[in-house]
């Protein structure tokens, strides 16, 4: 039971609109946490704050980082990190996206975001190069590092992409692209993996496949999974814990049974007029 990700009173204001309104959450490494909520509840903004794409108006974000060498503004990490009393957590509030990723927080996107013009293998290679910090090496061959190629092979096998490894991504099916998305995020060996609607746009067969993949990966890997999802079957299927966001704030937080029988949750989803 270790906290791997923590936000404190996280707030994001767009002019008059408060998209995220004081969210405090602690994610534990022993569970798959789902963050759900109706459209406009602030899920995507919340993800963008966590990953450094947006800067919060107020509040802080903390991440357990395996790698002590990286993280945003060193001063923030230094002073407050110890003051928080939780030695392993680092302040990533002001970090830029690439610093967040280096610190161990990886993400997948709701709208597939992969390197379409490259093959599956090249996609993963880019991520491994980033992870191995050899991106500025312009003297060696990209394909010349045997250890790196072995890592790529292993990851492709883990995600079931071996057969299409040398296919260019823009010719893949939607489901395959979604899997590449996951492979990319995993390739940097994150401590925390934020999945933004992994089943978006998938047909039922693909949904079943991706759900079992997520299960497998969660069992095999050290990464802690945080998932947002619209498909309620998937949510109840994979989650140990569900956090419900509504109008930027946490409405409910608990086990799937507790949360899904909560009247306030039903109301937020269906409106008070509905059954």
């Amino acid at each position: 039971m270790t906290t791997v990700l923590k936000t404190e009173d996280l707030r994001k204001q767009f002019g008059e609109l408060t998209a995220v309104d004081g969210v405090s959450i602690e994610v534990d490494d022993s569970e798959i946490t789902s963050i759900i909520g109706p459209n406009g509840a602030g899920k995507t903004t919340f993800y963008n704050l966590l990953t450094g794409v947006l800067q919060p108006t107020a509040g802080s974000i903390w991440l357990r980082s395996g790698d002590a060498a990286v993280v945003g503004d060193g001063d923030a990490a230094g002073g407050d990190g110890r003051a928080g009393g939780d030695g392993g957590l680092r302040d990533i509030t002001d970090a830029e996206p690439h610093e967040v990723a280096q610190a161990g927080l990886s993400r997948s996107y709701q709208i597939t975001n992969i390197f379409e013009g490259l093959t599956v293998r090249e996609n993963v290679r880019v991520a491994r190069i980033s992870h191995e910090k050899t991106r500025l090496d312009f003297r060696s061959r990209a394909t010349g590092d045997e250890a790196l190629e072995a890592d790529i092979e292993e990851l492709l096998e883990l995600t079931g992409l071996t057969d299409i490894a040398d296919t260019k991504c823009d010719t893949l099916s939607h489901g395959e692209k979604r899997t590449v998305e996951i492979a990319l995020a995993l390739a940097i060996e994150p401590n925390v993996f934020l999945m933004d609607e992994p089943t978006a746009g998938m047909n039922p067969t693909e949904v079943t496949e991706i759900v079992s993949l997520i299960r497998e990966l969660d069992a095999d890997l050290d990464a802690t999974f945080v998932v947002t999802e619209h498909n309620m079957d998937v949510v109840t299927d994979i989650s140990d814990r569900i956090v419900v966001l509504a109008e930027g704030a946490i409405l409910a937080d608990g086990t799937p049974e507790d949360v899904l029988t909560d009247d306030r949750v039903t109301e937020a989803y269906l409106g008070s007029d509905s059954v």
């Binding site: 990953t51 794409v53 830029e96 996206p97 690439h98 990723a101 280096q102 990886s106 993400r107 996107y109 975001n113 992969i114 390197f115 379409e116 013009g117 490259l118 093959t119 090249e122 996609n123 290679r125 880019v126 991520a127 190069i129 980033s130 992870h131 050899t134 991106r135 500025l136 090496d137 312009f138 003297r139 060696s140 061959r141 990209a142 394909t143 260019k168 823009d170 010719t171 990319l184 995020a185 390739a187 940097i188």
Partner: protein, 380 residues
């Protein structure tokens, strides 16, 4: 009917056999022979081919940033001029100094080498701050700020506040004669300069090819495809673009050094936007997604321009032809000439032949593009 298919099959078989025979080694050997034979060609053809090599390197450097990293610079003329002015100033002001130090015999050679290094250093020194500022912007804004930097360089060279660049006239570049005991030659002689250019351009091209196929270059391609995805994988996109900018400028700077010697002058026009546009046009015509695209594009650009110049009545309108050509390429030939060539080869030989000469292209169905005018091989 059966006879036709029979003949077709035979032609196809023959073609496939020929294509199989074209291994990289044979291409290399043939290319080397071609380059040597070229040195005995008519003087003007040597000049034209040297010109092509220099423009090819210019476009190749530009394409590292455009085709590989996804940033369209409209100001790479600045670095072309930087290389040219670097060597021109050294040759003008320091040749007598070198003559005193190493003797008049080798002084021109020493001055040329030092001038080249100074030109390259100057370009990198300019590219570091210019790139740092430019990569803060993306897409059209990046194109505009690089355009602005290019034109700023143009104004500075013309205004000549430091008294170095000789204003609108530019600096005459005299390469001089080397005299090493028994051996004497003129660096600026067509054939000598051709051999020199071949050596430098080949080395620089190989260097660029290595960069493109390195971990660094792989990350460049990823940034081209999706910068925010790259960042989410821990890649410092801005820093990487900056480094690419500097390398790209350095390659263009080498081309600029060669240009000064070839044209015998370093003129302000080199940093005018219309010069920057040559790299853009050559790259687009050749195909930005292929390593060889800018080279083939430069070949087409220079040789079509030369062909047009043979008809004096048309010469005044040569830009019109490129306008039309560019419209054709952009509308129907998105992969450029190299893409068209590969498509034509696949069409003729079936899908058997392997990937030639370059990196990937978007193999998205370009089915209806015609393959006329693409029969000119990239044997250069």
């Amino acid at each position: 009917m059966s006879a036709t298919t029979d003949t077709g099959d035979r032609v196809r078989e023959f073609g496939a056999a020929v294509a199989d025979g074209w291994t990289r080694e044979r291409f290399g050997l043939l290319g080397a022979i071609g380059l040597i034979l070229m040195a005995f060609g008519p003087s003007f053809q040597i000049y034209l081919f040297t010109d092509f090599l220099v423009v090819a390197l210019f476009a190749l450097g530009f394409n590292l940033l455009y085709g590989y990293t996804g940033l369209l610079s409209f100001g790479h003329g600045l670095f072309y001029a930087g290389g040219a002015y670097g060597i021109a100033v050294v040759l003008r002001d320091l040749t007598p100094v070198f003559a005193d130090v190493v003797g008049a015999g080798v002084a021109p050679l020493v001055a040329f080498v030092v001038g080249g290094v100074v030109g390259l250093t100057l370009v990198v020194a300019v590219a570091v701050p210019v790139g740092w500022l430019s990569v803060r912007l993306e897409e059209i804004y990046f194109a505009l700020i690089t355009l602005a930097f290019g034109m700023l360089g143009y104004s500075l060279i013309i205004q000549d506040p430091a008294g170095l660049t000789n204003g609108t006239d530019g600096i005459i570049v005299l390469l001089g004669s080397v005299d090493l005991g028994g051996l004497s030659f003129r660096i600026g002689a067509r054939r000598t300069y051709y051999v020199l250019t071949v050596a430098v351009v080949l080395a620089a091209t190989y260097g660029t090819w290595r960069v493109v196929n390195s971990p660094f270059g792989t990350v460049c391609k990823a940034i081209r495809e999706s910068p925010d995805r790259a960042a989410a994988l821990g890649i410092d996109v801005r820093h990487h673009r900056w480094m690419t900018f500097i390398i790209s400028a350095a390659i263009v700077g080498i081309a600029g050094v060669l240009r000064a010697g070839l044209a015998s002058v370093a003129s302000p026009g080199l940093t005018h936007w219309s010069t920057s546009a040559i790299a853009v046009i050559a790259t687009v015509i050749g195909g930005a997604t292929y390593f060889s695209g800018p080279i083939v594009g430069a070949f087409i650009f220079l040789y079509i321009r030369w062909a047009i110049s043979r008809f004096p009545t048309l010469e005044a309108y040569w830009e019109l032809f490129f306008g039309a050509l560019l419209i054709g390429v952009v509308l129907y030939f998105k992969q450029g000439a190299v893409g068209g060539l590969l498509l034509a080869r696949d069409r003729l030989l079936g899908d058997g032949a392997d990937d030639a000469g370059g990196t990937e292209a978007d193999s998205t169905d370009d089915s209806r593009s015609d393959d006329a005018r693409t029969d000119r091989g990239d044997d250069s």
